[in-house]
């Protein structure tokens, strides 16, 4: 049995095999594996005895689900109204151009996954970017690029993540 199917077994049990809890199950699956792979979705559908299309309907409807592996870091740029008024559109453009990435995608070198989110609810700090859970406020295109250029490669991120988790 692969690691993936073990996870799935655990997750399905966690919610008493309740198909109504499909979204939490998929959220947990993504939290464990980083994304929803075709194999894991197929296994989950089989385990719950629901058509695979139903899982894809959910996975593609909600923006928080990812069908491709994520980068070493997670970068969310707020595109809420206040951030937009204060220039977050220019920041998106700068990031996309500099790192050859589109919103919702991952940089070619898998350094970071980039999402433009609707609002992170920190409007007094606008424009805001969240990098691996840390909020950066009052951004300009220059300062945003500087922060992203300072990101370490994947291994460092994993180490830092482990440290965060231990705290």
């Amino acid at each position: 049995m692969s690691q993936d199917s073990q996870f799935i077994e655990q997750i399905v049990d966690r919610y008493d095999r309740d198909v109504g809890m499909l979204i939490p199950m998929m959220q947990d699956l993504q939290a464990e594996c980083g994304y929803l792979s075709p194999d894991s979705l197929r296994a989950l559908a089989k385990r719950l005895n629901v058509p695979l299309t139903r899982l894809y309907a959910v996975a593609t409807f909600y923006t928080s689900f990812r069908l491709a592996p994520k980068g070493a870091h997670e970068v969310s740029l707020c595109m809420g109204t206040v951030c937009y008024l204060k220039g977050s559109a220019n920041i998106t453009q700068a990031i996309c151009k500099e790192f050859k990435v589109a919103p919702g995608g991952t940089t070619p070198d898998r350094l970071f996954s980039f999402t433009a989110v609707n609002c992170v609810g920190a409007c007094a700090l606008a424009p805001v970017m969240v990098v691996d859970g840390r909020y950066h406020d009052g951004l300009t295109p220059e300062s945003a690029l500087e922060i992203l250029h300072g990101l370490g490669p994947a291994e460092e991120a994993a180490e830092a993540g482990a440290k965060e988790g231990a705290r």
């Binding site: 198909v19 109504g20 809890m21 499909l22 979204i23 939490p24 959220q27 139903r54 309907a57 959910v58 409807f61 909600y62 923006t63 928080s64 689900f65 595109m79 809420g80 109204t81 206040v82 951030c83 937009y84 008024l85 989110v117 609707n118 609002c119 992170v120 609810g121 920190a122 409007c123 007094a124 700090l125 606008a126 805001v128 859970g133 840390r134 909020y135 950066h136 406020d137």
Partner: protein
């Protein structure tokens, strides 16, 4: 201090515990209340907390001095915020090196540190207490009254501030053995609903539907089980009221839901929280497990015949899930597509059962109404909109933050007294209320009173409570385009008017902001808007045209300037204004010249430079780079 929690098997046991917490002798205890809301955390509040803890440890006075991490204090503009009790001295924009001084001077010495106090921009006076600051003075905090006072991860803090007393008041009659002659009888479910009806509480999520009527319909609906839902899927961009409430005082939402469930006859509740709010999820989970531990959630609560439990579900990042039927579809594990509501959800909601959904702020109002009476609540606000409303006041305003005001207050007081006016001395242009489906209200209506009816009359709506202030630099056509774009992306695609209509509207708006607008575009937008509001399936669609219609209604001249003169009056739409160099301000430093990507700038060193308008692509690089603000938009 009570550390270990025990399960209380009776109301009397719990009351004894609550009384001991509430009557604790706090004289001599000095407390540092540290805001740990998202805004303050982003500015390093977590590190300040560690430093205060260290300072306390070093001073060897860990008993009489405590540091308390709390939810959002509200004045996010001046984060991080630290309040030192008992004097209640309010510090703002505290940095790491300030901790030692605050500890030495204020905590130990009882003196204020003037440098860190709020300075009234009008009088120049330094203000010590939060209540003196205009930002707080004009507010009336009921739902947020405990925010910033309690540690949201400690149920004992909430109980000590009077928490769960409303639940006890309600439950007493459900006491299994009514053998307590001395105890005043509690409230029957009907009495609870009647009290909420007297209060005149209306849904705080935006709809404004009378809460008591909803509860009564759900109570009398046939079918079981019945469900109650707390809607914390705060999707409006520019709004963080629900977030601050769930993060700052999760138990108030839980207590409200308990009382509602008792009144409706439900044993199972859900709180649906937005995926982007991990801290809210964490604190709600902690709160729920603590409430279970002491017997306030679960089977036979406090030994009564009433059972109720709450489960948390995280959203998946879909705006439309804030709509009740879409949210319920999501709770059932399906894509969040709304359905037509000819059958109300109070009759057939989640899993086809009677379901009562209220916004988390609505729920958090309930304990206050039960404790202080419906009459007291009805005495606040306007005739049709009672009580207070929490808003997030954001945008181009001097004091951004989380506020709570009585219904009926004017927009002017909110913006100029609480918000301290516009930032950087700019001119006010509009305030956007009601989220993406709301509207923009111009300066001539600033004296409008904020309540459900008044805002609707102005072509906007109350919505969940975002107030986004815009200044002269904001192009209203572009604002309409932004919201239409947002709603198009968030449209679930189920019904044609919303899916296709919004796409057409965006297409037209994009043309206008790019300078390709045609005469007749405004009329086309109005026609599309009419179809949309008349035929869309859910509230997302029927209100989606509000941003377009309200900006046409109040800022028609800006549309005309774009379409007829190819000019953006706010100088925001690229290509609809030009850059020029002010020859008097230009020092001839050459920075713009070097940075211009198309070599459109010429000029000798130390002499005024000139932009060749034929070559210029209006990219704005020179405007951004000029250190002397000599590049102008005209």
């Amino acid at each position: 201090m009570i550390d270990a929690l025990v399960k209380f098997a009776s109301i009397a046991d719990f009351e004894g515990f609550a009384r001991s917490l509430r009557s604790q002798d706090r004289t001599g205890i000095r407390s540092v209340r540290l805001c740990m809301g998202t805004g303050c955390q982003a500015k390093g509040a977590a590190r300040l907390y560690e430093l205060f803890e260290e300072a306390i440890k070093q001073s060897g006075q860990a008993g009489p001095i405590e540091v308390k991490p709390t939810g959002c204090h509200g004045l996010c503009q001046r984060s991080p915020i630290v309040v030192v009790e008992p004097a209640g001295i309010f510090y703002q924009q505290v940095e790491e090196p300030d901790v030692a001084e605050i500890f030495r001077e204020t905590v130990l010495g009882g003196r204020a540190v003037p440098r860190l106090l709020y300075q009234d921009p009008e009088t120049g006076k330094k203000l010590e207490a939060a209540e003196e600051i205009p930002f707080y003075k004009v507010q009336q905090r009921i739902v947020l009254s405990q925010n910033g006072r309690i540690d949201p991860t400690k149920i004992t803090d909430y109980i000590a501030e009077g928490g769960y007393s409303a639940l006890v008041k309600v439950l007493t009659s459900a006491c299994a053995g009514a053998s307590l002659p001395l105890r005043k009888q509690g409230m029957t479910p009907e009495e609870v609903i009647a009290e909420v009806e007297v209060a005149g509480l209306r849904g705080r999520g935006g709809g404004g539907f009378p809460t008591a009527r909803k509860w009564r319909s759900c109570r009398s609906a046939e079918g079981s089980p019945k469900y109650v839902i707390g809607n914390g899927d705060e999707g409006d961009p520019g709004a963080y009221m629900d977030r601050s409430l769930m993060e700052g005082n999760p138990h108030s939402v839980i207590e409200g839901m308990l009382i509602g469930a008792y009144a409706i006859g439900s044993e199972k509740g859900y709180i649906y929280v937005r995926n982007e709010y991990p801290l809210a999820v964490k604190y709600l989970r902690t709160a729920i497990s603590q409430a279970r531990e002491i017997g306030l959630l679960g089977e036979s609560i406090l030994g009564t015949s009433f059972s109720f439990d709450i489960q948390i579900n995280r959203g998946g990042g879909a705006f439309v899930c804030g709509e009740s039927t879409a949210l319920m579809a999501s709770l059932e594990g399906r894509p969040g597509e709304p359905r037509a509501k000819y059958v109300h959800t109070v009759e057939s909601g989640l899993w086809g059962k009677p379901t009562n959904l209220n916004n988390v702020e609505t729920w958090a109002n309930v304990p206050h109404i039960i404790n202080r009476g419906g009459k007291w609540f009805a005495g606040i606000g306007t005739e049709k909109s009672r009580g207070t409303k929490v808003f997030s006041l954001v945008g181009k305003i001097a004091n951004s933050g989380l506020i709570e005001v009585p219904m009926g207050i004017t927009l002017r007081r909110i913006i100029y007294e609480i918000g301290a006016g516009m930032r950087d001395g700019k001119r006010f242009k509009a305030v956007q209320t009601g989220g993406p489906s709301g509207g923009c209200i111009p300066a001539e209506h600033l004296d409008a009173r904020v309540d459900f009816e008044e805002l609707t009359k102005l072509g906007s709506m109350m919505g969940s409570g975002g107030l986004i202030v815009m200044d002269e630099d904001t192009c209203m056509v572009n604002v309409a385009r932004y919201f239409t774009d947002f709603l198009l992306n968030e449209s679930c695609g189920k019904c044609t008017p919303c899916r296709e209509g919004l796409a057409q509207m965006r297409h037209i708006l994009q043309g206008i902001t790019k300078g390709d607008g045609q005469a007749g575009d405004v009329e086309k937008l109005q026609a599309l808007a009419e179809i949309l509001s008349g035929t869309a399936l859910c509230a997302l669609g029927t209100t989606a045209a509000n941003p377009v219609l309200s900006t046409i209604r109040y800022f028609r001249d800006e549309y005309d300037a774009h379409i007829l003169d190819r000019r953006c009056p706010a100088k925001e739409c690229r290509g609809l204004f030009i850059y020029q160099i002010d020859s008097e301000a230009c020092k001839g430093c050459g920075i713009c010249l070097k940075n211009c990507p198309v070599d459109a700038i010429t000029g000798e060193r130390k002499a005024p430079h000139v932009i060749d308008q034929q070559k210029c692509t209006r990219c704005g690089t020179c405007w951004e780079k000029c250190p002397f603000t000599a590049v102008l938009k005209v």
